[in-house]
Symmetry: C2
Subunit: 369 residues, 2 copies
């Protein structure tokens, strides 16, 4: 794979569209999170966002214990890239994937989530065949309405099934409230996490009453993690987006106890048409910046609004009194949603003070299975 | 790159998520289009949709003259894959891309669009340096409000600039009304294409009056192409989606003169959680099926509705009285929008009568520049 830029190239020389990482802002975001939670909770950053071992290793250098993944293929890419401790924060279903997961556990410390007793038996068989041992977390639905069993007795029943399986180790509970990350006001997010924390505490108590030690509760994302930390109910957090930020997270109310993160991730785009003089068209559409959570915003160019995306084009509205950008001019866009946007690219172009300093392959791009 | 399936494997054994092409429906769609327009108009199918030389070559075997692309990198992938006649239906801006485009013209017949006089001069310089010659189409905005100059004199002025450039050949007009493809009623689409046709005819007349021969008018997409054909104003059509179809095109009124196409493209997904018994969660979210034009639909499973996508999960609602799908069961999804969904995958898994018969690499996946 040919990199899309050269070390030492100036940002304005990089061909477009390109996924640009502002390394100063990125480094600062990594330090900000590490400083905010040091000594209070373990950090296991999420590779579903960054898809890149180079990013994971920099987060681990600042104290993260390892990476989270959503897919076995992501976990394989992380282990291949040198990450030695991976938690798949998801259920893994089907013999081919279970076999790959169990075999990967021979190369790294590996955890996985469960929400079904039959799946626990299949995990045990796969680990037994591979001769490995897996950390298993029971996923509890704390308000997201996605995977997981309801809080309380269903968690205890599954935890008991795990402790009875010789190639599995009951590692604790996965309690992730993804929906809470994007509630706009801090008060809404606090209320959601308080409800989740009460469920975590009550279920932990039930486990203890049943004689089951719950080694760890893991969960939390970039929009709420300090609320989980302050609740005291979580032992480990799983933030991903904080390293990059995006236009959707920028629409959240962002206040203490959450620290401020900076936009570090951009799509570099070129004005490719003046569309008859009334608009500007850039060469980055919805294949260059995912629009599932809204349009990208134009970085530090007041009066320019990215109004609409087609497959390969972005439509910029030019406010009255604003000079139209020149044909060929390059603009930075802040993606609407960082995770699926990163998944469209094979490389990060890392830039510091306007000069390309790093080219990191996104080796888990498209890692779907 | 390891293929995601094996020839001879049964569909239900293919690991998920996978991009599945029903080869019977695909072949039929290709023949249906070829039959509908044979002898009336040239066909140049769009590679922005399929991203795959194997698809382009099958379309050419049924009469297509070559492929359309939106990006130089797509054109490079098509030429590399054996497509000898490529039209970039887009403006190409910036020295690195112009150089690549001009050099590619040494390996294949190559066309490109313009909507700016300065860009014409840069194209001429690039072709002169590469020692090649490019077909150049003046793009006219016929109602899409994207790239292109307004109909009439601006087209004549640009066409004159092209004819004055020794390494460029004025090949005609690009007149594509992308927005019209998705107008829901046939009457709305017909009205839009009639307006566009009037602009095409008037501008062609102006060109002739100015002594400029307009060799060809090219445009049209899957939602309208028979309307362009019936108008008689276009010489060439550029359909892409017709080979696959998607949930968004299925929401169009679809009637004569447009022939019927079948859903040929699917995302195979696995039920990975029963989410507490009230829903079904599949392992294909918005990184497996682009949601820019709506959610995917569940194929031939009445009572199951794909209601919401997160990054790696799809939420299925189960209608009252419908049996819940089993954990581990595989379902076919019809993507909301085929183009950006195909762009998420590295391979088509071609299936005929439930058995994998073809594995085609999507070599222009992620071809952004």
């Amino acid at each position: 794979m040919t990199p899309p830029a050269r070390i030492g190239q100036r940002l304005e020389e990089v061909d477009t569209p390109a996924l640009v990482l502002d390394l100063d802002a990125f480094d600062k975001n990594l330090r900000t999170l590490a400083d905010a939670v040091r000594g209070r909770v373990r950090v296991r950053t999420h590779a579903k966002t960054h898809k890149c071992p180079e990013v994971a290793k920099r987060q681990m250098a600042l104290g993260a214990v390892g990476a989270c993944c959503q897919k076995v293929a992501e976990a394989e890419a992380m282990v291949e890239g040198g990450v030695g401790d991976v938690l798949v924060t998801n259920e893994i279903v089907g013999a081919p994937k279970l076999e790959r997961l169990a075999r990967l556990a021979a190369r790294a410390k590996l955890g996985v989530c469960v929400d079904d007793a039959g799946n626990v038996r299949e995990l045990e068989s796969a680990a037994a065949r591979a001769g490995t041992r897996l950390d298993v977390y029971v996923e509890m639905d704390v308000g997201m309405g996605r995977c997981g069993v309801p809080p309380g007795e269903p968690v205890v029943a599954l935890a008991r099934a795990v402790t009875g399986a010789p190639h599995l180790r009951f590692a604790g509970m996965q309690a992730y409230h993804g929906r809470a990350q994007h509630l706009r006001t801090l008060a809404e997010r606090r209320a959601a996490i308080e409800r989740a924390a009460a469920q975590v505490r009550a279920t932990r108590k039930l486990l203890e009453d049943a004689g089951l030690v719950c080694p760890r509760v893991t969960g939390a994302g970039s929009g709420t993690f300090m609320l989980e930390v302050e609740s005291g109910a979580w032992d480990e957090i799983q933030p991903g987006s904080y390293a990059f930020m995006d236009a959707d997270y920028a629409r959240n109310e962002w206040a203490a106890p959450l620290p401020r993160f900076e936009h570090a991730l951009f799509v570099l785009a070129t004005v490719m048409s003046r569309g008859g003089g009334t608009r500007a068209i850039v060469d980055a559409g919805l294949k260059a910046s995912s629009v599932d959570s809204g349009m990208p915003s134009v970085w530090q160019r007041p009066g320019l609004r990215y109004a609409l995306a087609s497959d390969e084009h972005g439509f910029l509205e030019i406010a009255l009194g604003t000079a139209a950008p020149a044909l060929g001019e390059k603009l930075l866009l802040v993606p609407g949603h960082c995770d699926p946007t990163i998944n469209l690219y094979d490389w990060y172009v890392g830039v510091r003070k306007g000069v390309v300093q790093a080219l990191w392959p996104i080796t888990a791009r498209g890692a779907l299975t």
